[in-house]
Symmetry: C2
Subunit: 419 residues, 2 copies
């Protein structure tokens, strides 16, 4: 209540006094302006996060389109239910079974990309000051959502086998000692964004057990699990515990332009997600959902996923080869699937401060700071190898090496101030 | 902070103690269970709200699809920008110009239906306890959103010429006297959902002037404006004041299954909407946006809107004719466009209590209570005439008359207890 306060405004925004508290959690990314430059064709962008949709034969989409319109007609362009298309939810049973999940279509809600599923779930749980536990580093889009709901993000130490059960237990104890309320653990267990690491099979039941004991909900975000290069990932956390909220997506195994993701949740919660979805946007797109449903019906979609695996495996190899060639002493993760690898820079080099220099050298990446909610991550950067061709990955990483080596030299000559 | 509180759960929901405050604002509509019955083919549903998409030639969609894939290729299935497709935003200039709005495409944000635009804007402004002024009755989906953000909805007296400027001024004074903070006025000025009434031209500058003087943002929601039956609607409120936030949609002039709507907002606010949209779902569907953009390019879309006008005019006439025939003494609005008309029942009849009886008689409608945030509306009901054929409208309204007349007789025989 601030009726006594006179209306405030400035020349740029006459409604400055009227915004809700949560509006102030939104800020323009510091690297956003730079990324506008990145779309120039001469820049090799290792920043993206975009799937290589050129590897998807367009005639598969055309066939799915024609078959959908013939089979569904007006239903495909009409409003649909708030839970999502029943046929698609039935088909998702098979998709999830590939990672050991045996679930009822009744417990699935289709959403506008899995990002919106995450937003809806976060909105159902997070009050101001609540704690979300997350890997360190963690997905930038999830950090944005948790911040928007004014939650505190507590990163948990994560190594090459994923999030550490010991560190998780410690973080929980620390938060509890501070009298804070922990709402859930958010994690990307397979080929994580941005680290590329996968949660080891032996750690999975340990994570589940800790969270169960502590009454902490697990939010498993798994857009990349099917994009393994050599052998399938361990069974999903959801396969070990029906209380896990599981997020899936078609953005990486088909294409992101349809904005179709989904969430599998226990019945009481699933019902709340449907209501929140109906409030937010009435229903997800019937057109997108039915097109994907028809694609699953008529295309050999498993073979197409295998095609994608081959594309990304080749690019992972190209990236690692180039790193070995141009930056042999640099420490990086070695992903067994997915889109990303995580680079640790020599001490004293700041990835955020270095980015403008890299862009000047016609290469872009995402600074490590984007993946932490606590302002750390300066010594890291993310390379996304999914979109550039193997040749461009080589060119880009060669340019990156020029920048890093120049920074290293400066550092050796002038000491830490050079950053 | 409630660490001291032991974890609570029940047999149905083990996370009952973990929900955010806002989760408790979501409730299953009391009429939802009944509406499941309504999908049975023998029931004539006057409840819907669905456009008659069968009147859209599917070859127009097919041509737009083919042209889009040929022109845009991989871009159509890739991630897009958080503000929406630039070409579509440029085209929206022409669509909005039809209602007197001259705006820059830079100030438009494309959203997943205009419902999501409303959700994003509401999220930027509403803190708990803030006041939203709205027509009485008002759109049920907007009421749901405002409730979800824990706002107080203050209905303003609305007659056959739309919201009353005098009543608006009174409501503002009343809220201010209570020390409450008013965030915005939400209204559907053309062929309103659910009343079917249109805000008179002479009232438009009055509304704008009051809100300007009181520093209250105007949120103009206009999905139906182009669906006039005889003559175009008065120019949009946004044409009178650049500070108005204007919401538009393709759901009614094309088809809702694509989930494409848009919002036009002053620059500072538009930037916040983009950030909120990126947080919520990264970007709207490229596929849906580009398909609609291509439809606008290749189809005579104005002619198609005219086709829809003819369909809905015929149905409005069928509904009014049937009401005159079977319920000659009933008071209803007489919409000049759009989908809805608003019925005032004889005193003592409760539309919500009557609904099960109507469904038993194989006709459904939406009780008036759905359109008020304050529990009133029992004496009203909404008829949506957009989806049933003229013949079915006649059958449905005849059945409705049977139920209403039976209730009236009961009331006359036994007095008010009979309801």
């Amino acid at each position: 209540m601030s009726e006594a306060r006179p209306p405030q405004s400035n020349n740029f925004d006459s409604w400055l006094d009227a915004y809700a508290e949560r509006a102030h959690t939104l800020s323009v990314s510091e690297v956003r302006a730079l990324f506008a430059v990145v779309s120039r064709p001469e820049v090799v962008s290792l920043a993206g996060g975009m799937p290589y949709v050129a590897a998807l034969p367009k005639d598969l989409i055309a066939k799915a389109y024609e078959s959908m319109m013939a089979r569904k007609g007006d239903l495909a362009i009409q409003y649909g239910g708030g839970q999502g298309d029943a046929e698609l939810r039935e088909q998702l049973r098979d998709v999830m079974a590939l990672e050991g999940i045996h679930a009822s279509p009744d417990d699935v809600v289709v959403t506008t990309g899995s990002q919106h599923a995450l937003d809806l779930v976060a909105g159902l749980f997070l009050d101001e000051g609540d704690v979300v536990l997350a890997e360190g580093p963690s997905y930038v889009g999830a950090i944005g959502i948790f911040r928007h709901y004014q939650a505190h993000i507590e990163h948990v130490y994560t190594d090459n086998e994923g999030i550490s059960p010991e560190a998780l237990q410690e973080a929980i104890s620390k938060m509890k000692a501070q009298g804070r309320r922990i709402k859930f653990l958010y994690l990307v267990p397979n080929f994580a964004n941005p680290s590329g690491v996968t949660l080891a099979a032996k750690r999975r039941p340990q994570i589940i057990e800790i969270c169960k004991r502590e009454h902490i909900l697990v939010l498993e975000d798994n857009p990349y699990g099917l994009l393994y290069f050599d052998k399938p990932v361990p069974d999903a956390l959801r396969s070990l515990d029906d209380n896990v909220i599981y997020l899936g997506s078609f953005s990486k195994i088909l294409a992101p332009g349809f904005r179709v993701g989904y969430v599998l949740a226990p019945p009481a919660l699933r019902e709340k997600i449907v209501l929140a979805q109906e409030s937010a946007l009435l229903c997800p797109s019937s057109f997108s959902q039915m097109l994907i449903s028809e694609y699953l019906n008529i295309a050999d979609w498993r073979k197409q996923v295998d095609t994608f695996r081959g594309v990304y495996r080749e690019r992972r190899d190209a990236a690692l080869d180039a790193l070995a060639e141009y930056l042999p002493n640099l420490q990086t993760t070695r992903p067994d699937g997915g889109f990303y690898l995580w680079v640790t820079l020599p001490e004293g080099i700041d990835s955020k401060a270095m980015l403008p220099l890299a862009v000047k050298e016609l290469v872009a990446y995402t600074p490590g700071t984007a993946f932490f909610g606590d302002g750390t991550g300066h010594q890291h950067l993310r390379i996304c190898y999914s979109f550039p061709t193997p040749e461009n990955l080589n060119v880009g990483i060669k340019r990156l090496a020029t920048v890093i080596n120049r920074q290293t030299e400066l550092l050796e000559t002038f000491g830490k101030k050079a950053k």
